[in-house]
């Protein structure tokens, strides 16, 4: 492969445009392929302190999609730094970009979490203001431009790490929220997180999920996610990571043509553990066949 897959996201070079999405990937995938082939890895949603996540059913299949209600179960920043970062750093040395996905119930919690990552060798912070599965914080900050603006401003003030903001498709106006993040100094955006959704068990006459609503992802949401990425890319000048049901090279290229610099792959990792590798190869095949030297030639052409 030539370096035609290489992309620049702001000042950061990714060896290819495929990044694993938060909560859908872990170092356990090493048993399936050499992770150094990835463009980037986004951590599980992290909070300052460990969380046990939601009770009840956490995953449910729907037509070409899955709904999840994990509720940000995670080991907390300290254990992440101690257990996961040393291994992630080895991948970083091999050119894989490492992104830490940060969550909090309050602005203070976000900031405290970031303060504990600031000195670590990560490439980027992904500020998650779009988790639909927690009662406090999470998506609350991503629902309106005013809440997003205040949080991004405060986070920007405490970190020099490249900062991307992960947007919710469930907010007021995703374009306006995206513009606010840009104005407050975000270096990039990632979108979209899962769609707030619902399923009812008619036999029990109860919602399947204890939280009633859960987050829908997978191929089912791709056309809507793509539209949102396209709309946002028209209006911001910071780079965008597109996501929402990317399962193959063609899906990824759609997001890039819509304006994204790279894509995040989530649900597809569950469909097929080698999905990311397949997507990278299929993008390369497309570029080869079309005689394209750089993804920049086709980025945002729509």
């Amino acid at each position: 492969m030539s370096n035609r897959l290489e992309i620049k996201f702001g000042n950061i070079i990714f060896k290819n445009p495929v990044v694993t999405a938060s909560g859908t990937f872990s170092l356990d995938y090493e048993q399936h392929f050499n992770l150094s082939q990835l463009g980037g890895i986004c951590s599980k949603g992290l909070t300052r302190y460990p969380r046990t996540g939601n009770r009840g059913i956490r995953i449910w299949e729907t037509a070409s999609g899955i709904m999840n209600s994990v509720g940000l179960e995670n080991k907390g920043i300290d254990l992440f730094n101690k257990q996961d970062l040393p291994l992630l750093k080895k991948l970083k040395e091999q050119g894989v970009r490492i992104i830490a996905n940060i969550n909090g119930s309050t602005r203070e919690e976000y900031i405290e979490a970031i303060n504990h990552l600031n000195k670590e060798e990560i490439d980027m912070l992904e500020l998650n203001i779009s988790c639909p599965n927690v009662k406090e914080g999470g998506m609350y900050f991503g629902m309106t431009s005013s809440t997003a603006r205040v949080l991004v401003r405060q986070v920007r003030a405490v970190t020099n790490l490249p900062l991307i903001v992960k947007l919710s498709p469930n907010g007021d106006d995703i374009v306006q929220i995206a513009q606010c993040c840009e104005e407050e100094g975000a270096d990039g955006l990632s979108l979209v997180n899962t769609f707030k959704a619902m399923v009812i068990d008619i036999d029990r006459r109860k919602p399947v999920f204890d939280n009633i609503y859960a987050g829908l992802s997978g191929p089912a949401i791709k056309p809507i996610a793509l539209r949102m990425v396209h709309e946002v890319c028209q209006k911001v000048s910071i780079p965008v990571m597109g996501m929402g049901g990317v399962c193959n090279g063609r899906d990824a290229l759609e997001f890039i043509m819509a304006g994204a610099s790279c894509v995040q792959v989530g649900t597809a990792n569950f469909i097929h553990p080698h999905s990311c590798l397949k997507i990278i190869a299929e993008i390369d095949d497309f570029l080869e066949a079309a005689g394209i030297q750089s993804l920049e030639e086709i980025r945002g052409i729509i």
Partner: protein
């Protein structure tokens, strides 16, 4: 992609599928199976290894939803995908061993029986199987046990005194496993249970299959599916 050797209905809605190829695995581990190419259903189906031979692997399953329904329609020489082996299986036991299975929970116990029956560290292997209506595969279990107890329509957990054994491996409904664990006299008998949960990835990434244990949240797919019985907080 792998080729199906056979996919037989053993009883209404219960199938035995055998797939060609060289596969790895140990008693209690599982694979994720996909018998369709589209994105629907999205997730593979986690099935415990029923048997492993040099040129094949087999599973038994019950049709409970769309995924297992699609797998059940596959015929000899059709293609199927499988990923694994995943998870932590049963530990190597010693002395007197009992295997207790209820319903589809019998699935991981045949491989366990086959491995242990011929193991010189093992004094006896007694197998207890409980079924709702009709017993299946008893001829196979007969060959890998010193005693086989079958119950149809009752509670298999009532047929065993677990304190007669050094090791007990149980797989079945939560009620059955709970009843077995609660018999325990943990000085002598070590009880291990194999849990079943809805899974996403199978490798420990998605945290969908968490179970509550004495050690905090554990992942059924990665830390299990086999756990020490006394650690599990049954729901």
């Amino acid at each position: 992609m792998a080729k199906i050797i056979f996919n037989r209905e053993l009883d209404t809605g219960i199938y035995h599928i055998k797939i060609a190829g060289k596969y790895k695995g140990a008693m209690g581990q599982f694979y994720m199976l996909r018998g369709w190419e589209s994105h629907h259903p999205v997730l593979g189906r986690p099935l415990s290894i029923f048997d492993l031979e040099s040129e094949s692997i087999s599973f038994i399953y019950k049709v409970v939803g769309e995924g297992t329904h699609l797998i059940s329609r596959l015929k000899e020489s059709d293609d199927i995908e499988l990923f694994g082996p995943y998870g932590k299986g049963f530990p190597p036991p010693k002395g007197r061993v009992a295997l207790i299975g209820g319903g589809m929970g019998i699935a991981p116990l045949y491989l366990a029986g086959r491995e242990l029956f011929f193991d010189s560290e093992i004094e006896v292997v007694h197998i207890y199987l409980g079924f709702k209506e009709r017993a299946i595969l008893t001829d196979l279990f007969e060959k890998v046990s010193h005693k086989l107890v079958i119950v149809t329509g009752g509670f298999i957990s009532q047929k065993i005194n677990i304190n007669d054994y050094n090791y007990v491996f149980a797989c079945g409904s939560e009620e059955m496993m709970k009843a077995v664990v609660q018999q325990g006299n943990y000085g002598k008998t070590q009880v291990f249970v194999s849990l079943e949960k809805r899974m996403g990835c199978g490798v420990g990434a998605c945290l969908s299959c968490t179970c509550q244990t004495a050690k905090g949240n554990q992942l059924t797919c990665k830390d299990g599916p086999v756990f020490p019985g006394e650690d599990i907080f049954f729901e």
